[in-house]
Point group: C2
Chain length 254, copies 2
């Protein structure tokens, strides 16, 4: 249910409230456009309240191990090369920033106080201690047919002794496939997540999560996902996910 409100609240990315969204544009926003069905309100006050440069959790920190850094550098290099137009490897990747706040009600200025007061934090970014829980970074291909996530599992994700909890793995799969679906057709909602666990993941290890678009059928998007060792030789988990495009107003009105 990594439902993304990406496109609806895409203007918010400047102050870092968006868990899943489109990649950052190279523009500065001094105000925020709230979009509702009936009104559009330009709010100039928010950038003063929220820091202009919130913490991007997808950037390297001291807890990242060698495998995590090597893979990050690999995809980041491809991403930069694509951006700078120096080379074309046929795989143009873009890093997705990741923040720990989402706007609770993106329906108008009247909800500003709720937004500011909200203690809500994105589940996968709710622990700030580097390396303790979910350390991950997502890259997506420009043609949007594929997403890849490098995930290092911290000691607070334990399920069976010394290994990652199945729920934490499902959480990462939902996050990666949900982000992927939101890039194709935001907003979306997870309708089904079918996870097959093949081999447990030791705590502290780094794995690769790859997401591929299988099929689009009207409002439905079928995405498959594999969790493997970083060299791809060991399959840990495989999954399929079904996402539905939704009317965001239904969710916000609840």
């Amino acid at each position: 249910m990594a439902r993304s409100l990406g496109r609806i609240v895409s203007g918010f990315r400047c102050f870092g409230s968006l868990p899943f969204g489109n990649p950052p544009l190279k523009t500065q926003c001094s105000g925020v456009l709230f979009r509702t069905t009936s009104e559009r309100t330009l709010v100039h006050v928010l950038p003063k309240i929220f820091p202009r440069k919130p913490r991007d959790f997808s950037l390297p920190n001291s807890s990242w191990g060698k495998e995590m850094m090597e893979l990050y550098n690999h995809y980041n290099r491809l991403s930069k090369e694509a951006t700078e137009g120096q080379e074309d490897h046929g795989e143009e990747w873009t890093r997705l920033p990741s923040y720990n706040r989402t706007l609770k009600y993106a329906t108008g200025g009247a909800y500003l106080s709720k937004i500011i007061q909200s203690k809500a934090r994105l589940f996968t970014r709710n622990i700030r201690d580097p390396g303790a829980a979910f350390e991950y970074v997502l890259f997506f291909r420009q043609d949007k047919l594929k997403c890849v996530c490098i995930f290092q599992a911290g000691h607070l994700l334990e399920g069976p002794p010394g290994h990652v909890h199945g729920g934490a793995i499902a959480t990462m799969i939902d996050t990666v496939t949900g982000t992927h679906a939101s890039l194709l057709s935001a907003p979306v909602m997870t309708a089904n997540l079918n996870v097959n666990y093949r081999s447990p993941i030791p705590l502290g290890s780094t794995v690769l999560i790859e997401s591929i678009l299988d099929k689009e059928d009207g409002r439905k998007m079928y995405i498959s996902c594999r969790v493997t060792s970083t060299d791809g030789s060991k399959l840990h988990t495989e999954a399929t996910a079904l996402f539905l495009s939704i009317s965001v107003s239904n969710l916000l009105r609840r």
Copy 2:
């Protein structure tokens, strides 16, 4: 992958290291029996290192809302009545304690230092702040055909704005069904988790998670699960899970 080592390390429950296990016995243990394939080592030192009464996260705290408390009191009353033999409602429930540590390597005294030094914490109990994340308590029927979990979703579990992350819901489903399977035939490992999301769960709300044994077939256990509003009128999520009995030595040797 809420694989439980319940029966294998059942002796450990006295110092609270077991995330999923059999219900507590009314006995005191002054030592711990480490079981391996080749040796049994009685260790008397552990109770001095680990507190005899670690925090049981399944007991009420100040964050529990009215719905959570009412349901807890309901099942707790049935549980106590069954224990005291005063009444028989035909439904004899037992509350399951819940701790935030698991023994990383339960294979012998040589691993004591690793156990003590381990920073690993059970994923669903890794935040101590009451009410911030997963608040839940499990009860199971004495005939083990049914488990029920009362779950209050904290503000750190956010996915879509104002609602619980699909991964957090999957985590609770894995936890409840995995605990259920471990009561039937520990140790087990989740092989499949198939989750259908029907209606999002607002942050802060309390829901009921019910787990039912569908079928046993050799090493396989098929369990189904429903997440509903506390009065059962609204279906939020439904899921099926497949668990396999495993040889615990395979996991511990990894």
